[in-house]
């Protein structure tokens, strides 16, 4: 049973221009998406850069203003409540940032960084606070003596661990991970990802995993949403998406996954060209005359695709 629903979320930015700097149009950064979150699962949000996936994440946690739509958390509408800083909702939803370095205040020691959410959300005694910080450091696998260090004294992976430790400090239910590893070395990426999986199991966390990297998403996620121009083009389980992509955009995305297997190189090249050619030809079938993505339609219990009914049949 899902503990949180997002209904028809929209985030629009005005475009100002013209002589008097009036609102001319809107950028539809997020244009009507709906999601549900169940405990312990990882949800992937995939798309090219600029498609609105980060905005989605930020609007869920309250960093972006929602134009319309609803967020229901444990049966309550928290759409506006999100912005009240120390609400229970904010305690239960946390975020891991892409750039671990910039997400840590350079003027603060690790202990202070970790104490920040604790002080805001949990009324702990200083003693409890110290213990909790030690605990968190233990969880992310760092020695206690780092507490007195400043962020710049750590490597990228370590910083991200601190970021994760901070995110889990308040025992959140949902963690929005906004490209948490894209700024890291490949070797470190795997480490951090595995570590994230470990603590997920340990703490029963739900992840909203935002990434442009389908490989990483495949590794991490149970459910995947493919996003394009602020809308979902396809949602489904990992199997649905990877073995049975329906939407042409998904197919194109999948065909672009890099693979270094030399034996199949030519084959893949042909396949990519085919998908690309197909994309150009069938473009019209998947997007309306304005280039907008159609609404999602279920094609199975778990699998939804954005295309008109007629197209569905014809595929």
């Amino acid at each position: 049973m899902s503990f949180m629903q997002i209904q028809d979320l929209r985030v629009h930015y005005p475009i100002r221009g013209g002589f008097f700097n009036t609102i001319q149009d809107h950028v539809l950064a997020v244009d009507g998406i709906s999601m549900e979150f169940e405990e312990g699962k990882t949800y992937g949000l995939v798309g090219e850069s600029g498609c609105g996936k980060s905005t989605t994440g930020k609007s869920i946690i309250g960093l972006e203003k929602i134009t319309s739509g609803k967020i229901i958390y444990e049966g309550k509408d928290v759409t506006n409540a999100r912005r009240q800083r120390n609400s229970a909702y904010n305690r239960d939803i946390q975020m891991i940032f892409q750039d671990a370095h910039s997400s840590l205040n350079p003027r603060k020691r690790v202990s202070e960084i970790l104490a920040e959410p604790l002080r805001n959300f949990m009324k702990l005694t200083p003693d409890e606070e110290r213990r909790r910080i030690n605990e968190l450091l233990a969880i992310v696998g760092m020695p206690e003596d780092v507490k007195l260090k400043y962020p710049h004294e750590f490597s990228g992976g370590q910083k991200q661990r601190i970021g994760i430790a901070r995110a889990i400090a308040t025992n959140p239910k949902l963690i929005i991970a906004d490209e948490p590893v894209s700024a890291l070395d490949l070797s470190v990426q795997a480490q951090v990802l595995n570590f994230m999986k470990d603590i997920q199991k340990e703490l029963g966390l739900t992840y909203l995993f935002i990434s442009h990297d389908l490989g990483v998403v495949k590794h991490m996620c149970d459910e995947i949403n493919i996003m394009y121009k602020g809308r979902f083009v396809e949602t489904g389980t990992k199997q649905d998406i990877y073995s049975n992509p329906e939407h042409i955009y998904t197919k194109r995305l999948l065909s672009a996954i890099p693979n270094i297997e030399p034996a199949t190189r030519d084959e893949r090249k042909i396949e990519r060209q085919r998908v690309e050619a197909n994309y150009q030809v069938e473009n019209k079938k998947y997007f309306d005359e304005n280039g907008r993505v159609f609404d999602l339609r279920p094609i199975s219990d778990t699998h939804q695709v954005a295309m008109t009914a007629s197209e569905q049949g014809g595929n």
Binding site: I93, Q94, S103, R107, K108, N120, P151
Partner: protein, 302 residues
């Protein structure tokens, strides 16, 4: 459009240099003898001026004594006397105290207002920013020197306090603009977002998270403002819109040079104050330069 107008010498200084500000600054001063000397000079000078000025009976000092008119240095007073036969040295001490007090007060008031407004508008953006930017844009239109002069001719009781207030009304704008543009880019950084998601209130974020990261910029800005305010006070006194001469200030002392006779023949009337201003400015600037350097990793000496 407003950010682009912001032209300041410190444009390049990046915010947030990892080791804490104080340490870097201390290290910088240790490396830079001139800055160290300047800092010590400033501390000693200000202390001496404040302590000494307490020992001077101002009423006694400002008593006209015609016998000592224009006494040359050494005759009766170390630095001679002015037209009223009043000790220049005593006036220099009191004047320096007044001027420094004025400059510090104006710097603090405009600093606090400017920093607060700059941080708040930069952080929140949106309509708050819009409103304040309109106000700031308007203030920028104002030829402030002119309006200050008009203001001064209006106020019925013109004292140090009114002087400070009048100056402050117009001088917070520059700081606010600079701080706003810095805050604008600073508030885009993820640690601010992180704090928001972790339930920290806006006020705490602005003043406890963001401000320390802008501290070097702010210190530099305040030092330069301080130097500028000393200069403004002097200039207004020259034009005759400064403090009344019975309230000595460095400005009124330098303005003695306004009289060509004194300028040519009685250097002790105006030169000590001019030199003091010069030394003060030099010291402040060297200190400011060191702080500025410490804020910029690439320029650091140590």
């Amino acid at each position: 459009m407003a950010e682009k107008q912001t032209v300041d010498v410190e444009k390049k200084t990046p915010a947030a240099s990892p080791p804490t500000g104080i340490q870097v600054i201390a290290r910088e001063f240790a490396k830079d003898k001139l800055a160290m000397t300047s800092l010590l000079f400033l501390i000693v000078l200000i202390t001496v001026i404040y302590v000494w000025s307490f020992l001077i009976d101002q009423e006694q000092l400002m008593r006209i004594s015609l016998r000592d008119q224009m006494a040359a240095p050494g005759e009766k007073y170390w630095l001679g006397a002015d037209k009223g036969g009043r000790d220049i040295l005593g006036q220099l001490i009191i004047g320096a105290r007044n001027s420094i007090t004025i400059a510090i007060s104006v710097t603090l008031i405009t600093g606090i207002i400017g920093i607060a407004i700059g941080l708040i508008t930069g952080y929140f953006g949106g309509w708050i920013d819009n409103i304040f930017m309109r106000i700031i844009d308007f203030f920028i239109t104002i030829p402030s020197l002119m309006i200050i002069i008009v203001f001064i001719s209006i106020v019925p009781k013109y004292t140090v306090v009114t002087f400070v207030l009048i100056m402050s009304v117009f001088l917070w704008v520059g700081t606010a603009r600079l701080v706003r543009s810095k805050a604008l880019s600073e508030s885009r950084r993820d640690y601010i977002n992180a704090s928001k998601t972790m339930g920290t209130s806006d006020g705490v974020i602005i003043f406890k998270e963001m401000m320390p990261n802008l501290s070097s910029i702010l210190i530099v800005e305040m030092t330069l403002n301080f130097a500028g305010n000393v200069g403004l006070e002097t200039g207004l006194s020259y034009l005759g819109f400064g403090l009344p001469p019975s309230t000595p200030s460095l400005g009124t002392l330098v303005a003695y040079a306004n009289d060509p006779f004194i300028l040519e023949n009685a250097w002790w009337n105006w030169l000590p104050a001019s030199l003091l201003i010069l030394l003060l400015m030099l010291a402040i600037n060297y200190v400011g330069q060191a702080i500025r350097r410490s804020a910029d990793a690439r320029q650091r000496l140590g």
